[in-house]
Point group: C2
Chain length 350, copies 2
């Protein structure tokens, strides 16, 4: 019998994290009798006088939001990272190591209305979001080693507010995931002389097997090593180290790529597709002066849904204690997404 | 101002995973307006004729379960790991690496009744579970490099069946988490000449600050580097490499320690406390013949709840993209658990 990746279990290597994922496609046949999540709330009012993210409303710290028309950025009222805090003394014990952490947490609203999401926004509105990401980055990257832009979308992803928004947590330290990515991209660069993810983008572009959306400047794929069922890696096709290096033309086509593949996400289960996403680019702060050519800008999208709008993939026992496991292959997931309509299910009958 | 770990944010180092966790205790003050989980179903019938895990019932593959009185082990009907599968050919490309995976998946019922859990079982019944873990290990460890015993408890942890049970997935490869633990324990051993977690157990025993339960042979602590709010590390106080090396006396006191701290878990929010847990010991298979003295047997418990029976910690955006973040400190969590009654809330008024 010949090996068929869509039939036979195997391991795939994630070169960004230096780890493996177990792919068990035969397991798709398993019936599901476990927890079914609540469907996403679909009836969100465009404006809610009690929502601290809406324009003109008063937040819990007593501040009033601007009556914003596009995007709006403010300091998180309950920041996990504060700027001026007492520093811990060194413990001197390898088993009880402590280190200082300083940072800043911001919240960024994508739009004045609560009942829209990125794929439902206009091209120009998405460009505004990208521009704002870049402005915030430009400012925060001067003081911080790492600026993490991330979006938790959907209650199932711990998002406590339905208003379209993301967060930006900047830190004095390089977080674990950044450290791993940095190390692995560097090793590849030292060995092959080219940025790892630039090679990857060009190989995926040639193959097409895992591509969901591609245009002149960007490609969105279900990466070969995806752990989440419909995980996406979005990256530029030329060597770009940071979001702040993106040209006007590239912003424009990034907005187009985002709108397209996020529409496909929503169309998959006809639901506002939940995920956590975030941008990874070369470290900043003092590292703005160092050689970070091994870095290629990219965004990760980690969506939890597996079978339907209410049945998710649980990353639990085996995944937490041993190794991530997935059922459908990256190629199967990409094919499904690729073949979905490019018109959003909510607007396609209007 | 002086540094106070219960007030001031800081990073703590996890020497088993070589990574850091961000501790932001000031963030406990944040109100929660996000997703509230369904409370655990409390009315589980002792026997359900349609439950494939109950004694004497027929499973989806047509096999009938033994009419078991204690524990019961059978092959998973939808195994993520199969024993005889086609092997993938090597890809030769560092960005598309594939490797063969072979394995076996078993399910183990803890008890004939569906409406009991480990803390509600008698001492002797828990000893039976430990004995069965060991028997299964003894058998599977001869053929496999890694035998992962794990329990997903509660629907919120993806457990699709309320009957008390765990799973055992054995593999031809060393999974990521095992590889990380192995590497980090080895480095410590080479540097200090003692098993890392043996040193850790003795330091925790001396300090007591993070201890929940301790007896002659075992200690259960909220580890210094805990990421989940009420995470527990359970380990023997003498050097033990594998579950199969535990003596009769140690089994007896392990059963006692488990009953005690799992009762405290349930008492915390007066709910059958959900978690994923698993045992980690020295690698097996061919590694039974190699030097694995750097290994110390231990069990990890990862429970998701944070504030109540229905409000969990979400490990999402920042955690997935950057670094785990926790609110209350390990010491605060340990103190809460330690001070809870040792009688289970369900039986204490009978
Ligand atoms: O085998 P079960 O209990 O049906 O499945 C559960 O545990 C497995 C091992 O952690 C996971 O891969 C599944 O996502 C989860 O739902
Ligand atoms: O800040 P939020 O959106 O209230 O909180 C959410 O995202 C944070 C960053 O990933 C997590 O630490 C929280 O557990 C989650 O609920």
């Amino acid at each position: 019998m010949e090996f068929d990746p869509n039939e036979h279990q195997h391991l795939r290597y994630n070169p960004l994290r230096d780890e493996w994922v177990l792919v068990s496609p035969h397991r798709l046949k398993r019936p599901w009798s476990g927890q079914v999540d609540k469907p996403q709330e679909e009836e969100i009012p465009p404006y809610d006088p009690h929502n601290p993210l809406c324009p003109g409303n008063i937040r819990s710290n007593g501040c009033r939001n601007e009556d914003y028309k596009k995007t709006f950025v403010f300091d998180n009222d309950f920041p996990a990272l504060q700027e001026d805090v007492c520093k811990p003394p060194e413990s001197g014990d390898p088993l009880f190591q402590v280190a200082p952490a300083a940072g800043q947490c911001k919240v960024m609203c994508f739009h004045p209305l609560s009942n829209v999401t990125l794929p439902l926004m206009s091209h120009q509105e998405i460009v505004e979001v990208i521009n704002k990401w870049i402005t915030v980055m430009q400012e925060m990257m001067l003081s911080f080693k790492w600026v993490q832009i991330f979006e938790n979308k959907g209650a199932i992803m711990g998002c406590s507010n339905p208003h379209p928004h993301c967060q930006i947590w900047a830190s004095s330290y390089l977080p674990n995931e950044a450290r791993l990515s940095d190390r692995n991209q560097k090793q590849y660069y030292e060995k092959f002389g080219r940025p790892m993810l630039l090679d990857y983008a060009s190989k995926e572009s040639k193959s097409g097997k895992r591509t969901i959306v591609e245009n002149k400047h960007w490609i969105a794929v279900v990466p070969y090593w995806a752990t989440w069922p419909y995980q996406v890696l979005l990256l530029p096709k030329r060597h770009v180290m940071r979001l702040t290096d993106v040209t006007e033309e590239e912003k424009d086509s990034l907005a187009k790529a985002m709108k397209l593949f996020l529409t496909k996400y929503d169309n998959l289960f006809q639901v506002s597709f939940p995920y956590s996403m975030g941008w990874h680019g070369a470290p900043t702060g003092a590292d703005l002066e160092t050689d970070t050519n091994h870095w290629q800008l990219h965004a990760h999208y980690y969506p939890p849904l597996l079978r339907s709008a209410t049945v998710r993939k649980f990353m639990v026992g085996y995944e937490m204690l041993a190794q991530p496991q997935r059922d459908l292959t990256a190629e199967q997931a990409a094919e499904k997404l690729r073949n979905l309509p490019i018109e959003h299910y909510k607007t396609s009958f209007k």
